[in-house]
């Protein structure tokens, strides 16, 4: 399960609307207990795929190094990533799977239909190895306030 505050949920959907018709992308910071990833901060990143930004995204590794450093300093970890699918469904594509390498992390996808955020789904990248990786559907639990994330003890 992915737990995320309404504020951050809105933020990643708004990001997709702002970059439409191109894909947006970012990193989800928070904590994980193995079963549940809790997002406390969604960090916007730039899409370096200037050759095909409407259906491809790529985050510069140097930006990831910076985000990972920020997370560490804040006592957080990278628990997932998000991107948008402009005028495409909120489902993982073969490209998404082929280029996903953070096993155990959540990959959140928002479909943007004619500039408006539609469905937001999350998929957990599972498997033991790169060769055996796969996406599994993941429930997204949106809570009203960021503070509620910390206070909620049951799913």
């Amino acid at each position: 399960m992915l737990r995320i505050s309404q504020f951050e949920h809105d933020a990643i959907r708004r990001h997709g609307e702002e970059t439409y018709p191109n894909e947006c992308c970012g990193v989800l910071l928070g904590s994980s207990d193995g079963e549940t990833r809790t997002v406390t901060n969604a960090v916007r990143c730039g899409n370096t795929r200037s050759d095909s930004p409407h259906n491809r995204y790529h985050i510069a590794p140097q930006e990831l190094v910076r985000v990972q450093r920020q997370a560490r300093e804040a006592g957080l970890e990278i628990v997932g990533f998000y991107h948008s699918h402009p005028d495409h469904p909120a489902r993982w594509s073969q490209t998404d799977l082929a280029e996903a390498h953070w096993i155990g992390c959540s990959y959140v996808i928002t479909s943007i239909v004619r500039g408006k955020a539609n469905i937001t789904n999350s998929f957990l990248l599972t498997g033991e190895t790169e060769e055996g990786k796969r996406f599994e559907d993941e429930i997204v639990r949106v809570v009203a306030e960021a503070a509620a994330i910390a206070n909620e003890s049951t799913p």
Partner: protein
């Protein structure tokens, strides 16, 4: 020097987010890391011993691939080496959403609240 381990690989590094090693070069640091935590090896390297293409190595803020000596670059005690798997993807052309949302069976699992702006 300190090697920062990305989230998915921590389970193979004693659940640590960083590992300290005494090394002379980037390659030496990786070798010592995988000697101490051998389960990391298959996740970082292909069967023929090459670093997997999606694994990025950053020595402080420099991409090791673009350093003149690459993995033979000498390191100092206070250097940081970050292991960063790449992040990329994107929608496929074959799934182009041609019709309004009610005609496309979008994924059914989301239980998020509806967008109040709709």
């Amino acid at each position: 020097m300190k090697i920062f381990i990305p989230t998915p690989l921590r389970q193979y590094a004693g659940k640590q987010d960083a590992v300290d090693v005494h090394a002379s070069t980037v390659g030496d640091a990786l070798s010592k890391l995988t000697s101490t935590h051998p389960d990391l090896k298959r996740h970082l390297y292909t069967d023929d011993g090459k670093l997997r293409a999606f694994v990025n190595l950053y020595l402080n803020d420099e991409d090791v691939r673009y350093l003149s000596d690459k993995e033979n670059t000498r390191v100092k005690e206070n250097d940081h080496l970050s292991i960063i798997p790449s992040i990329a993807g994107g929608a496929d052309h074959s799934e182009l959403l041609l019709h309004p949302i009610i005609r496309w069976p979008d994924h059914p699992i989301s239980v998020g609240v509806p967008d109040p702006r709709n």
